[in-house]
């Protein structure tokens, strides 16, 4: 049982998963804002990076 719990706590999946979620959020922000035609391109990238970075980092530090 201890081995199982250890795996949950220190999963490397959360590292990969954090990057995956971050990239997905950046992509979504760029797609949606591009579709709506709002903001300048640079603003879209900044918002995408901030939001994607924050959520990706949270996935990692929460060890999801």
């Amino acid at each position: 049982m201890a081995a199982v719990s250890k795996k949950i706590k220190r999963s490397s999946a959360s590292l990969t998963g954090g990057f995956v979620v971050g990239l997905a959020v950046i992509s979504l922000v760029l797609l949606i804002t591009g579709d709506l035609g709002v903001w300048q391109v640079s603003t879209r990238w900044i918002v995408g990076f901030v939001l994607g970075g924050a959520l990706g980092a949270w996935v990692r530090i929460s060890d999801l």
Partner: protein, 277 residues
């Protein structure tokens, strides 16, 4: 369970949490990261999912009647996929592939099923969402699986079908997460009155019986594939399966012999009826 749970021949009653389950819960909760936040976890999943559905819906333009036929087709194959992955990946230790499938098995069979049993299948706080909901990258993976057929339809000159396929796929994923949460929520006063949700709650809690989990009740949305492949604990037709609710009147009585009870470390290991000790 609470007082509102129907009595007799309905849902399994709370028989008291086994010591093994209580110990696992305590250990698991201590290991949940400090920064974890249950509502944020749920918000992230549904935020990403709804954004993709909204984006897909914006690209559907004046669809023909046949474009909508994608919806039942996606529901059908998603139901089979949900059944298959639950039965043959989440409950089977498969080595290789950089431990990708093994990690899924460990999280599900060795963690989720230890945390929730038919004795005590409900959450106590939002921090328990950690073991109810999939991590958000599972949704992203599911979206990526839906991208090739979506792109294929779009580039084949059927863009409406493609975008409906993507929207439906993500909707089904959110449907899965919501129904699964409803299976493990503490207060069932409302849930027990909602068709489909009451059905899947009984269906899934029965699946959390260690004696049944390896072979029975693998659907998490609508128990269609369990009916189709005869892996359900019910002896009913397809409509009876879908609208069964909490009723246990038609639960099959014949179950395979298993070793021990919930506190036995060997519990859940199915044995052939004629196997010797």
């Amino acid at each position: 369970m609470n007082d509102s749970m129907p009595q007799n021949k309905t849902m399994p009653q709370n028989k008291g949490m086994p010591k093994r389950q209580a110990a696992f819960r305590e250990d698991f909760r201590q290991r949940i990261a400090t920064f974890y936040n249950g509502p944020l976890h749920v918000l992230m999943i549904f935020g990403i999912g709804i954004a993709v559905i909204w984006y897909s819906a914006r690209h559907i333009d004046n669809p023909a009647w046949y474009d909508w036929l994608v919806i039942p087709v996606v529901f059908f194959f998603a139901n089979l996929f949900e059944w298959w992955i639950h039965r043959f990946v989440m409950h089977r230790p498969i080595k290789g592939f950089s431990n990708f499938f093994m990690a899924i098995y460990t999280r599900h069979t060795l963690a989720h099923h230890q945390f929730f049993t038919d004795h005590e299948p409900t959450v106590d706080s939002t921090r328990d969402f950690r073991i109810v909901f999939f991590p958000p990258y599972a949704l992203v993976t599911f979206i990526l699986i839906a991208v090739p057929p979506t792109a294929m339809l779009i580039f084949s000159g059927l863009p409406n079908m493609g975008w409906i396929l993507m929207a439906t796929s993500v909707f089904i994923y959110l449907n899965y997460e919501f129904f699964h949460y409803c299976c493990h929520v503490k207060d069932d006063r409302l849930i027990k009155r909602i068709p489909f949700i009451n059905t899947i709650r009984r269906h899934h809690i029965a699946h959390h019986d260690v004696h049944l989990m390896m072979e029975t009740n693998f659907n998490l949305t609508y128990p269609f594939a369990d009916w189709l492949f005869r892996t359900s604990d019910l002896n009913r037709g397809v409509l009876g399966h879908l609208f069964n609710g909490y009723s246990a009147r038609q639960v099959k009585r014949k179950r395979r012999k298993v070793i021990g009870a919930a506190d036995d470390p060997r519990a859940g290991i199915a044995r052939a009826p004629n196997a010797t000790k």
